[in-house]
Amino acid sequence: MRRVAYYKGCSLEGLAIEYDLSTRALCEALGIELVEIPDWNCCGSTPAHSYDPLLSAALAGRNLAIATRQGCEVVMTPCPGCLKSLKGAREIRENPEQRRAFLELVGMEIDERIQAVSLLQLLHEEVGVEVLQKLIRRPLTGHVIVPYYGCLLTRPAQTARFDDPENPISMDRLIQATGATVPDFPYKTECCGATYGVTRNDIVGKLSGRILDMATRLGAEAIVVACPLCQQNLDLRQDQVNRYCKRTFHLPVLYISQVIGLALGIDPKVLGMDKLFVNPDRLLQDIEGAGNQESHISQSP
């Protein structure tokens, strides 16, 4: 169907490996060919643009330049942090002085046609909710799931050019397509504590704590995210948050690719569901039960 350059970013090699596994499995099921950018490097993330904006542009832009050589016009990244850096690198084309500096630093140019999109944008705009709805094999009917977008997927609006910066709905619609119940989540774009998990754990304790609290109040069985850092703060650090807030949250935090993958009937193991820290057992048992029933029915005639 479509061929896109794939920039997975460093997190998806390590702590967010299940985001990589599920993205690949989902794209394969949807007929999207992912061409991993050869010898890709780190985009520099927050540390690079807190050091020098040109360092961020050079590190991220090198990947765009390589993707161009592969004949790709669209680079897809599941990580919103990488996305922001890639889009920032594209923007320096508009400033002749910075463009020259980039060329001196990297030795390659960024093609003007190249676009950077998130996995979420690709799913919402290229595949579309209607098409996805028709592909659902294991509907998540009856399950309450809240979408959490975090900061950077739709912000800043001028750079992101996708969905609404204040009240994004793309993920809401995609999750609804799986049959799940999606309540309005008032904290969908409130910050989770970002990179301060290591340096200022109290910040993550407070900010992720209120997100988990709101989701629990809404009766959610799971939070769905599209950012490896948000996922880390809410899932890996959930025990730390519990200690900070003196609470006992036990809320699975899934990637959007995992939740859609499950509904499409992809094996939970292939989607890396066993890599999550807070076990989504209840969701899985129910789905697997429904899946067995379905295969039983299809075999009977």
Binding site: W40, T46, S50, L59, C191, V198
Partner: protein, 212 residues
């Protein structure tokens, strides 16, 4: 109780500082009229020494020292809430980022742990071309002298097979290190000169505060 500081605004107003912030951030800070949308949106005020609207006012008043020594500019997570809601379309988050970079250059970083973490991160990128997550934490823990940071996570990470002990090194890692070196060289000598092949670049360690 915290002491109340008295500032003599006329004596301490640094006009050049205002110009430098506006130039580097490409934002007209004078447009801010203190509506308070930024502070109302900011999730980090609870850890700031000066809320973001006060930082904006301090810039207008040329209070370089107060601004560049504030903890707020390093605790800003660049979440873009302020930028999204500013009625004057000021990119407030970009202004905060500009201040972070300036404070690094001036040697006035008041949250050294955060800078140490960022430097460890960039050090990893410079060495391997990618971030080596497992290696990053020990480097930070040693440099920040906080050996027990996140130690509670290690057994769970190990159990899930998420600790990798060999860094993923890219083939072009020398090219990545060159980007860092060239940037330092050009920041010191200007970008207009042509890069000569094989020319030795000035090698300043990443952690120095005046290296950009």
């Amino acid at each position: 109780m915290e002491q109340i500081k008295t500032l003599s605004l006329q004596q301490s107003c640094d006009v050049d500082f205002i110009r430098r912030v506006e130039e580097a951030s490409e934002q007209k800070v004078s447009k801010c009229y203190q509506c308070g949308n930024c502070i109302a949106s900011c999730a980090y005020t609870f850890v700031y020494d000066y809320p973001v609207n006060q930082i904006m006012r301090f810039i207008q008043l040329g209070q370089k020292d107060v601004v560049l020594r504030s903890r707020s500019i390093w605790l800003c997570a660049n979440c873009q809430a302020c930028t999204t809601r500013c009625p004057n379309n000021l990119d407030v988050a970009r202004i905060m980022e500009t201040l972070r970079i300036m404070s690094r250059r001036e040697g006035t970083v008041s949250e050294p742990d955060i800078r140490t973490f960022y430097d460890a991160f960039l050090g990893s990128v410079k060495t391997f071309g990618r971030v080596f997550e497992t290696g990053l934490l020990p480097v930070y823990n040693i440099k920040a002298r906080k050996p027990f940071t996140d130690l509670d996570l290690a057994p769970r990470l190990l159990m899930k097979g998420k600790l990798t002990f060999i860094p993923s090194r890219i083939k072009g890692r020398k090219k990545i290190a060159e980007i860092f070196e060239r940037l330092k060289f050009h920041r010191n000598n200007g970008f207009s000169r042509k890069v000569e092949k094989g020319r030795p670049h000035s090698s300043v360690p990443l952690t120095t505060q005046t290296d950009i």
